[in-house]
């Protein structure tokens, strides 16, 4: 009958700017450094060349790429096989919502300067490429819990201390 693999396998997620600057990359499958660079470069070219009214899905190499642009930033997921592209698109949207809630109307600069936070949120939302928690509240709760420790820690430091001289 109908034999197709229906598996949600995410290969990687990229965030990059309209100028083609990579802002975040998460690889869920071991890929060599060289290959990564090549893939990122190629994929950015392909996605940036797409016109605004075009489909959010792309067939690229043996992968399906789902992308969406938010302001100046492209969010881009590569999935395998015959996955449901639409739900992947919503997955991107949920991630953006999480970022938005966390940073308070997020913009590209937030992600540039606090990219490690963006990674933490992503890790809390997706684990190894699979949706871990769909509840917005619990994802942010987990992040905030860890952040609380951070704030206690963020005592003012002298310039000298910061430079390793103290």
């Amino acid at each position: 009958m109908l034999e197709e693999s229906r598996e949600e396998l995410m290969r990687f997620m990229l965030l990059f700017s309209r100028q083609g600057k990579l802002r975040l990359q998460k690889w869920y499958l071991a890929t060599s450094d060289k290959e990564r660079k090549k893939m990122v470069r190629e994929l950015m070219q392909v996605v940036l060349a797409r016109k605004p009214k075009m489909c959010s899905f792309l067939e690229w190499r043996d992968l399906k790429v789902v992308y969406k642009r938010y302001a100046s930033l492209y969010f881009c997921c590569a999935i395998e096989g015959q996955d449901n592209e639409l739900i992947t698109l919503e997955l991107i949207h949920r991630y953006v919502e999480l970022l938005d809630k966390y940073f308070g109307s997020v913009c590209e600069l937030d992600i540039i300067f606090n990219f490690e936070k963006a990674y933490f949120i992503l890790d809390e939302f997706l684990m190894g490429g699979d949706v871990q928690d769909t509840s917005k509240k619990s994802v942010l709760k987990a992040i905030e819990q860890a952040d609380l420790l951070q704030e206690e820690d963020e005592s003012p430091r002298s310039v000298l201390e910061e430079m390793g001289l103290a």
Binding site: Y119, D123, T134, A146, G164
Partner: protein, 1113 residues
């Protein structure tokens, strides 16, 4: 001290920059992370790539100094790590920091640890050697009382842990399944899911705990466990049918909005959870009516509920449609699903349209009329500006191609092909076109021209099978010799025309195809003499853009044509030119040609015309060289040693690890392993294709020893009307096929007196030519039956035939499958078709569903009791067993069965091997079938006994056995009985073998002791690359090594080679000959097992079995 000052100086500009007033909230936040901020700003301020590089290199060297300075605090290290990650993201190498990332994860406080772990997960991948250093940290954090630490450890474990490191953390993570916090339980489940993906055998023992996770009171944990279930059900759906009810209930609750509002996404309840459940249901209900019936209601509700006009509801709908079409069909649901697809296809949103096309592609084979409904939309999508939509449409068309619409569809595909540049697309599309052309080509000219297009576009990226198959097809031909000759002649003519064109470059593969065809079939030409063809080939040979591989093909073609040519100026010129060539391969060919040219008689006998298909008798042993060898030996030459023997010797001298797996037998292969250059060139000369000599094996066209692969019946030379159908499409003139299809359509247009706009009409016409043969009357065509008949060039597809074979057994009743205790997929259905041939020809069919089999492993009694742990069960090997019994006319009531005597009678024959007890498989009043297994040295022998219990003879009893995937059954002689006497028993033996090694479930029947010496063990041990280690706790009863090993010997049939002190060596093999070695060592009550094998999965499997045996007893 000076470097610290320098650091300070390099950091200063950043500090100044930081003090500049920033704009907006982002900049304000950014000022906290000072150094990163200045780095980022520094980079943005730069204009050229070169400057950026300089700045980053500077940054990296300052970072390098900082991270390795002993004075650097962990807090600073954390800050450095962030910058390192940033530099890596920009594409610069920061590998010097990897070790510090691990250190940070190990030593830092919570916050530093978090950054450390993040850096580790971004920097390292599964096979990175530094990961080993992380194990202790992870183990420590998993045991921590701090929740955040445990979470971090679980996250990193699920991201980058390789399978070798799983045993170190597995027990700890297992414990976490009982943790009081749901977040920990959830992450633990997901981590175990990842383990299941990379090493399923290692988590096999915790399946029962997954059930607990499925019933967890927390929705998140339950949802996480669905990942595992989806995976496991995909591997073996029959083992989880009992959970269908639970999944349905969960889905009902989710759809009914019973979950906390938290899980809503745009007021849709837990969409990811819904989709996961729908996928699971789709797998469970596939081909299973009873299970499918359980889910009809909830699917109906899902379809009904998803009405909100939002992407996420469409995502759920799409999944729903998929599930509805996957499970046992219900017309009502199918109707609704079809309506849904319509919604997608007709949507103005491009994303939905795309999914609509995708869904159509998926369901089209089941319901071709759906394509008819949406034909106008499909036509529109064909000309869509977005290439992705076009491509999906072509995919759809590819699925509905038949003999009537093939020309139009292929035309559309070629158009797309000419526009696309991406290699992957080209390879994919070219393959499809070639397949369709071979299957449905309406005539020779079209076929050759289409293939020309395929070769010139697909060129050197396409799959090598395409040119290989094409040449094979030309060479072998079909039933009709004149038709074959016409096809060949047409090919030759078309290639000559192509070669006449100036300044056109063809891909190398195409040139190779051309040269082979011209070399073989130029003799069919009337006008052009072989000399002229040779001249053309010569021109190509002198062309610099032709690769040396292609040149060998060309020269081979010239060689073949030379005996046919009358004048041979060109040939002589060629010989002259190439005997001094720098390319040794070409030089050799030229010399061969030269010598053959001098001896015309030999040449004509060596290179006969049109004999490419005939089998060659190749003297593989090279016996004609024996005299030469003997002479050499007598003169004191060293005897020849085969390659592997030489390597072995070299190895034993050098004591270097050999990573090549050894075969089991060490006997040298003698003559067969012998190869000499002379042998190769001779062999290929005879084959008439000396081009091969110089070719690399991987990407050359292999033509030697061509076998008959093309079914004769595939070719039907009937001239069917190509487009004569009810919708009135006009026949397409052959000449115009390769040109723009629009022209043809316009021509037809004029003949139609209709008032539609021209464009509309074109579309309609295109539609009628595309969807020809898709109407309800011709539905069958699509489903394959008529297809196979109308194939002109048929590719022999084993899978397809197997499928139609299954379908054609019309007597069979619907299967009903049942789950068993073990995980093995049971799909055994026995059909006892009893035909009472008494005038009325009444056909009685009754299916005997052998519930008996369920208890199979339990009924393996006395003799094999010790093997009862092995989960091999006879019937599970066979996917489908059917049996037909024809009663003779005088059939009367059945007599009493005598099974007790039966078993003993056939056990006698085979006492020298260990065997299982006989077990009844099925029976009725006339006949009973039972079976038992014999573990022979070289195979597993299955004996099936059929007993005629009636007092009458049976005629034409027929026992058919089909092995399951991965198994092969060889029939022993005498399996078909013309007559079966009354009250007699007859046994049939089948030997079962594994076709390729795999390790799912039921291998234990194929494990045999491997009797080798300790010395051989040592040699083999070093040569195996795959190893697995594990410590197993022994039960008290077998605390001593010998008794533990004895258990392994008895239960798993491992051979004990030697026991030295507290160490033991064992060996076994998986039939036919995959060795596996085991090294055991005892410390107190712990047995350390260490497996090595040439097969990567076997050690895992055996480890699991040993664990079961040792821990279980």
């Amino acid at each position: 001290m000076s470097d610290i000052v320098e650091k300070t100086l390099t950091a200063l500009p950043g500090l100044f920059l930081q003090n500049q007033p920033g704009g907006g909230p982002a900049a304000a936040k950014a000022s906290f992370s000072s150094r990163l901020g200045s780095l980022v700003r520094g980079i943005t301020a730069l204009t050229s790539k070169h400057e950026e590089e300089k700045l980053i290199q500077q940054e990296l060297s300052s970072l390098k100094a900082t991270v390795s300075a002993p004075t650097t605090t962990l807090k600073m290290m954390k800050e450095c790590m962030v910058r390192l990650i940033y530099c890596e993201m920009l594409g610069y190498d920061a590998s010097f920091g990897y070790i510090h990332a691990i250190k940070l994860a190990q030593q830092g406080n919570l916050l530093e640890k978090r950054v450390g772990y993040l850096a580790v997960s971004l920097f390292l991948h599964e096979s990175h050697e530094l990961l080993l250093l992380l194990v202790n940290t992870v183990v420590k954090d998993l045991q921590s009382t701090n929740l955040v630490e445990v979470c971090m450890a679980l996250t990193v474990v699920s991201q980058i842990f390789p399978r070798e490191m799983i045993p170190a953390v597995l027990p700890l993570i297992e414990d976490k399944l009982q943790h009081s916090k749901e977040i920990i339980r959830r992450k633990a489940v997901l981590a175990l899911y990842k383990f299941h993906l990379i090493a399923p055998n290692q988590v096999q023992h915790i399946h029962i705990k997954f059930r607990k996770a499925l019933c967890d009171r927390d929705v998140g944990v339950m949802a996480a466990s669905l990942h595992i279930y989806l995976r496991m059900i995909k591997e073996n759906s029959s083992g989880y049918k009992d959970l269908t009810g639970s999944f349905v209930t969960i889905l009902k609750q989710v759809v009914g909005g019973k979950l906390p509002v938290d899980f809503n996404y745009h007021s849709v309840p837990a969409p990811w959870l819904q989709i996961q459940l729908l996928r699971i249901l789709g797998l469970l209900g596939k081909d299973d009516q009873r299970t499918s019936e359980l889910m009809y209601d909830v699917l109906d509700e899902s379809l009904r509920r998803a009405e909100l006009n939002h992407n996420v509801t469409y995502a759920i709908l799409f999944e729903c449609v998929h599930t509805v079409y996957s499970i046992y069909p219900k017309s009502e649901l199918l109707e609704k699903a079809a309506k849904c697809i319509g919604k997608f296809v007709l949507s103005p949103k491009i994303n939905l349209k795309y999914l609509g096309l995708k869904a159509l592609t998926y369901v089209i084979q089941q319901d071709p009329t759906l394509a008819l409904q949406h034909q106008m939309t499909i036509i529109e999508c064909l000309d869509h500006p977005d290439p992705i939509i076009k491509r999906e449409t072509l995919e759809l068309l590819y699925r509905i191609t038949n003999a009537q619409n093939v020309t139009v569809i292929v035309q559309k595909m070629l158009e797309y092909l000419h526009q696309s540049k991406e290699e992957y697309v080209i390879v994919n599309l070219v393959g499809k076109i070639a397949e369709l052309a071979e299957k449905y080509a309406p005539d020779n000219a079209w076929f050759i021209q289409t293939m020309n297009a395929v070769f010139s576009v697909g060129g050197d990226v396409m799959h090598p099978d395409i040119p290989n198959n094409f040449l094979r097809l030309l060479a072998e031909g079909f039933d009709d010799e004149t038709e074959d000759q016409q096809l060949r002649l047409y090919a030759v003519q078309s290639y000559l025309t192509l070669l006449d064109m100036e300044n056109v470059f063809y891909p190398q593969r195409f040139l190779q195809v051309m040269s082979w065809v011209l070399g073989e079939y130029s003799y069919l030409l009337d006008k052009e003499t072989p000399a002229e063809v040779i001249a053309k080939l010569y021109k190509l040979l002198m062309n610099d853009s032709v690769s040396s591989e292609t040149k060998t093909w060309l020269i081979a073609a010239v060689t073949k044509l030379t005996p046919q040519a009358h004048s041979s100026d060109t040939v002589e010129r060629l010989i002259h030119e190439f005997t001094i060539s720098l390319d040794t391969c070409m030089r050799q060919h030229a010399f061969e040609l030269k010598h053959l040219h001098e001896n015309v008689e030999l040449m004509t006998s060596l290179l006969p015309v049109d004999r490419s298909c005939e089998d060659l008798a190749v003297d593989a042993s090279l016996s004609f060289l024996d005299g030469f060898v003997a002479e050499g030996l007598s003169q004191g030459a060293a005897p020849y040693k085969p390659h592997h023997q030489r390597q072995e010797e070299k190895l034993s001298q050098e004591k270097v690890l050999n990573f090549e797996p050894y075969g089991l037998s060490f006997s040298s292969s003698g003559f067969t392993g012998r190869q000499s250059p002379a042998g190769i060139s001779l062999g290929s000369d005879i084959s008439g294709n000396s081009a091969e000599t110089g070719l690399k094996e991987t990407n050359s066209l292999k033509l030697e020893g061509i076998k008959k692969l093309w079914g004769k019946e595939g070719y039907l030379p009937k001239k069917e009307s190509k487009t004569g159908d009810e919708s009135g499409a006009l026949p397409i003139p052959q000449e115009s096929i390769m040109e723009n299809v629009d022209q043809t359509i316009t021509k037809k247009d004029q003949s139609q007196v209709l008032t539609q706009s021209k464009e509309e009409k074109e579309k309609q016409l295109l539609a009628s030519s595309l969807f020809v043969g898709l109407g309800s009357e011709s539905t069958v065509n699509l489903l394959g039956k008529a297809d196979t008949v109308s194939h002109k060039f048929r590719r022999k597809s084993k899978i397809k035939e197997a499928k139609s074979g299954e379908a054609s057994s019309t007597h069979n009743m619907t299967c009903s499958s049942f789950s068993s205790l073990s995980n093995v997929a049971y799909e055994d259905d026995y059909y006892l078709n009893t035909l009472h041939d008494r005038g009325d020809k009444e056909l009685k069919t009754f299916s005997l569903n052998s519930e008996l089999l369920d208890s199979e492993s339990l009924t393996e009694l006395p003799l094999v009791e010790k093997f009862s742990n092995c989960s091999l069960s006879t019937p599970s090997l066979f996917a489908d067993n059917s049996m037909e019994i024809f009663h003779p006319p005088q059939s009367i009531a059945a007599s009493v069965a005598k099974e007790s005597s039966l078993a003993s009678s056939f056990l006698e024959e085979t006492t020298e091997y260990i065997h299982s007890n006989a077990m009844e498989v099925c029976n009725n009043e006339t006949i009973s079938v039972s079976s038992y297994k014999i573990w022979k040295d070289d195979c597993l022998l299955m004996v099936w006994s059929v007993t005629n219990k009636s007092g009458l003879e049976l005629k034409s009893a027929n026992l058919e056995i089909f092995p399951a995937e991965n198994f092969k059954v060889t029939e022993q002689p005498g399996c078909c009985l013309p007559i079966m006497e009354a009250e007699s028993t007859k046994s049939f033996q089948y030997s079962v073998q594994i076709e390729k090694p795999f390790t799912e479930g039921i291998l234990s029947g194929f494990i045999r002791p491997l009797k080798i010496s300790s010395e051989d063990f040592g040699k083999l041990w070093l040569s195996f690359a795959n190893d697995v280690k594990q410590n197993v706790k022994m039960s008290e009863s077998q605390a001593a090594l010998p008794s533990a090993l004895k258990t392994l010997q008895q239960k798993l049939r491992l051979h004990i080679i030697e026991i030295i002190g507290n160490e033991g060596l064992l060996a076994c093999q998986l039939l036919p000959s995959i060795p596996c070695l085991l090294h055991c060592r005892v410390y107190a009550d712990v047995l350390a097992l260490w497996f090595r094998s040439s097969c990567s999965t076997l050690p895992d499997y055996l480890l699991y079995q040993c664990q079961k045996v040792i821990e279980g007893s």
